[in-house]
């Protein structure tokens, strides 16, 4: 089923680059329920790769497992060659992986600026506060507001903005466009492309494959906790019917 067509044109130089993130036979459980049944995929340095799939397919669980916040997991997750499957989340973060969770995780007891400054810098080369404010001017205006008083779109911006300061090279973005108005979705698309130009590597979870197509190099289709297909972005149109069937849209 894997798409072997070689007209795949990933981001410049990415094809030759070694995988930054290598996930192999990843299994995960919540208590008794076995959710991931052997996820295998790679993300190369500088790529934007999406996980597409229906609700409940296990995309969020995959991200949480990569981040280390799902306690029960087996298999292999290598980041820059380092095996992280048995590391706690704080150690994984320190390697340069940052996570923007689906529910955004804006802290109500912190104001916008405190939310922004919360994640510690883990690597040199992250954005300065000024650069972040240039990218998200609205956050500067609302700096002293309570974090959860922002609109949904602003909260999503804040959730992305705060991991850009940390110097993390790999960003895990879980449905950043979920429930947002089309203009905001466009803005988020622009930002993701800017981040890619800066050389960041992004693993993106999306339900909206039209949006995904505007930012990504490759797509993995997830079903029942497994990768069932891989589609290059340039092949997306040709595989449209198949994809719509996978996603049930």
């Amino acid at each position: 089923m894997l798409d072997t067509n070689t007209s795949v044109r990933p981001s410049p130089g990415a094809a030759a680059a070694p995988a930054l993130l290598e996930v192999e036979n990843l299994q995960a459980w919540y208590g008794e329920s076995h959710i991931l049944h052997g996820m295998t995929f790679q993300v190369r340095r500088g790529e934007v790769v999406t996980l597409l799939g229906r609700n409940g397919a296990g995309k969020t669980t995959t991200m949480k497992s990569v981040m280390g916040v799902v306690g029960q997991r087996t298999g292999s997750v290598r980041y820059q060659g380092t095996e992280t499957i048995s590391l706690p989340p704080n150690k994984i973060a320190r390697l340069g992986v940052a996570w923007c969770p689906e529910e955004r995780g804006i802290f109500a007891s912190l104001n916008v600026r405190e939310n922004l400054m919360l994640p510690p810098v883990v690597k040199p080369g992250g954005m300065s506060l000024e650069e972040v404010y240039d990218l998200f001017p609205r956050l500067k205006e609302r700096a002293t507001s309570q974090g959860t008083k922002l609109s949904g779109g602003e909260q999503q911006m804040l959730a992305i903005a705060r991991i850009l300061r940390t110097g993390a090279e790999m960003l895990l973005l879980d449905e950043p466009t979920e429930g947002l108005a089309p203009v905001i979705v466009q803005q988020i698309g622009t930002i993701i492309r800017q981040l890619k130009e800066r050389g960041l590597t992004i693993l993106l979870v999306e339900q909206n494959f039209r949006f995904a197509a505007t930012v990504a190099d490759r797509h993995y289709v997830v079903e029942h906790g497994q990768v069932i297909d891989e589609i290059a972005n340039s092949e997306l149109e040709r595989n449209r019917a198949k994809l719509e069937e996978y996603l049930g849209v």
Binding site: M67, V69, N90, G105, L118, P119
Partner: protein, 295 residues
């Protein structure tokens, strides 16, 4: 001097001061409880015993090592904090995934054991601890006599509460603590070692109780049961204030101390129950407490 509201001012202000002193202890103790509950989700029933240990450590430092009040004011809370860290690592850290009830039972058991040990070693009659020389005597303010040591207790408590509040509300460390209270998983996923933070928070919370114990030693005698008498009231204070808020814990602590003091003047029969009456009313009207957030 003229009477105030039909009472001699000495009586009125004397009780007000007593109320303020009690309030100072309520405030420090409920502050520690609120911190611990916020981050650990554990209702620390050992808090009273840890307050008692603070007083005992001060007593033992003096009588075994000849270390006086001022160094003990730092050392005894530190020692209580260290025992707290050991307790957290050995026991509490195993309970976080379970219901609140388990933490409550465990810390209740610990309180009984600690009190039992000190009771076995030192009896229940109470041991004297002298006021530091620098704070003996008092000031005649005209309308009342103000013992220096009691003034110091109020000043020191306000300073500690304010310092803790500033630490939590205005510093980066405090931002980590507030954030981890809301969502420890995410804070850890940002690269913060949350388990260590939890351990240190428990240590700090119980060190506050130890500090209150040292402050109390020269006022009340050092007694294995001094904490268990106090902690029941402190839990009522926490229920009234609500578990969610640091400032709420402090304000409620001082406020209820003063109300209790005034009740002793105006209606002495109710002075030992007034806090519980207020607790019942607050529970009926605002079950999450005056400063608490409903869940």
């Amino acid at each position: 001097m003229a009477e105030l509201l039909g009472f001699p001012p000495q009586v009125l202000f004397g009780q007000l001061l007593l109320g303020l002193i009690n309030g100072a202890f309520y405030a420090i103790l409920s502050l520690g409880l609120a911190l611990i509950f916020g981050l650990l989700n554990i209702i620390n029933f050992a808090h009273g015993a840890q307050y008692m240990m603070g007083a005992f450590f001060a007593y033992l430092l003096l009588n075994i090592l000849g270390i006086g009040y001022w160094p003990a004011l730092i050392l005894a809370p530190l020692l209580v904090g260290v025992t707290g860290i050991i307790i957290e690592r050995l026991f509490l850290s195993r309970l976080y995934k379970l219901d609140h009830l388990y933490g409550l039972l465990l810390t209740f058991g610990l309180a009984l054991i600690l009190e039992g040990v000190f009771r076995h070693l030192y009896g229940v009659s109470g041991l004297p601890y002298a006021q530091p020389a620098a704070l003996q005597g008092g000031q005649n303010l005209g309308f009342m006599y103000l013992p220096n040591y009691r003034a110091w207790v109020v000043v020191a408590s306000v300073a500690v509460c304010l310092g803790t509040w500033l630490l939590i509300e205005k510093t980066k460390l405090g931002a980590y603590l507030r954030a981890a209270t809301e969502n420890p998983t995410l804070v850890q996923a940002f690269g913060i070692n949350v388990p260590v933070m939890i351990t240190l928070t428990y240590g700090f919370g119980v060190a506050l109780a130890g500090f209150a114990g040292v402050l109390a030693a020269p006022i009340y005698s050092v007694n294995p049961l001094m904490g268990s008498n106090l902690i029941i009231i402190v839990f009522a204070v926490v229920v009234i204030g609500g578990m969610g808020s640091i400032m709420g814990a402090v304000l409620t602590g001082f406020g209820l101390g003063i109300i209790e003091g005034l009740t002793k003047v105006f209606y002495p029969e109710a002075s030992s129950t007034v806090i519980f009456v207020i607790m019942a009313i607050v529970l009926l009207i605002k079950p999450a407490g005056l400063f608490g957030k409903a869940h």
